[in-house]
Symmetry: C2
Subunit: 196 residues, 2 copies
Amino acid sequence: MSDKKDVATEQLIKNTAKKLFFGEGRFNATTQEIADEAGVNRTLINYYFRSRDNLFNIVFEDAQQKEINFTDMVVFSDMPFREKIEKYLDMYFEQAKEYPYLEIYMVTQMNQGSCFKDPEQISRVLDKFYLEIALEMDKGNIDKMRPEQFLLNMISLTSFPVSMRPLLQETMGFKKEEYDRLMEERKQIILNTLFK
Amino acid sequence: MSDKKDVATEQLIKNTAKKLFFGEGRFNATTQEIADEAGVNRTLINYYFRSRDNLFNIVFEDAQQKEINFTDMVVFSDMPFREKIEKYLDMYFEQAKEYPYLEIYMVTQMNQGSCFKDPEQISRVLDKFYLEIALEMDKGNIDKMRPEQFLLNMISLTSFPVSMRPLLQETMGFKKEEYDRLMEERKQIILNTLFK
DNA sequence: TTTTTGTTTAACTATTTTGTTTGACAATTT
DNA sequence: AAATTGTCAAACAAAATAGTTAAACAAAAA
């Protein structure tokens, strides 16, 4: 069986869709645009994915799984708390270079009816993380608050400047390079803000 | 001249569009959907706004202006620094009830080519705010960092949990009411995080 | 070599969405 | 009373997009 050429093209189409959605924020890309960007005939999208909707759903679920694996890797890694956070920041900013609009995409999709498929898996990770946060508060390394609020703080400080970059960069009057530099400083800023 | 009925309907259509875009995150609402939601004939949208694109642009510019006025009001108000931040938080969370997706909408629009029309006005406000932040750092009320980073922190901590609510609420496994309660606690959390 | 498979091209259909036109009608203005 | 204005309804034209089908072909597999 030819397990190769077809899988490659299918993957190419999926990756191109991801690039357009998560990478460039073009959430309304048409099948034609996706095909063009992939350098592939538009009919192939139907051939492999049957319908546009189906492709969108598959990509959405991929993104979900990616996010879950991402947090999993951090939370279940065998590291001291603070190092975990640092690891998370590194990984996040790394992925953000390729897919800055992943979260916004998820929100827009969920506003159109999509939802998560495996809540179990998530809450398992979260519970463990909340425990660790609480422990860290007892040690006095971070301010006391509901662990959920700490998590919100962490995600907010990290994701927002990435997801909202077009808006922020323009609002704050930065050039590309200036904003890039701001982002590079950001890891340390976030650590200082989270840990007292 | 009848300065009334027509202006009212034009406004109604605009408000309905805003409600769908900023309020419900339905960024792809069709003219038909907008008309239905407004309880008005679809042709009226063309009658008043000529084209769908035009309506979208007008709404976008309205949103811009709204954001500018918003920050203006806070920054140029005659209050001590910390109270300004509190005022900002109050106003933001208040508006968030009506238009939680305003920022995301702006980002999606800007990813499709829109941009700000009056950068001057913005930088005037920002410069003043940066000065105040720097001053506050000298006083030792907040950690030293580039004022831009402080601003990023502030906006991130505030906006992210609002804009990304569908994603976060689902991810964190909250019911509506639980997330609402989390948001109510949030003002104090943010203040504690920003000020040392 | 023959067959199968992945891919392209092109033509065509269906559906959705936008935009236009026209005629009617009620309310308001003149 | 007559004219104007805002609104609606219905029908239609035009464009954009999605999806289907069939014929052809090259590369890989049999």
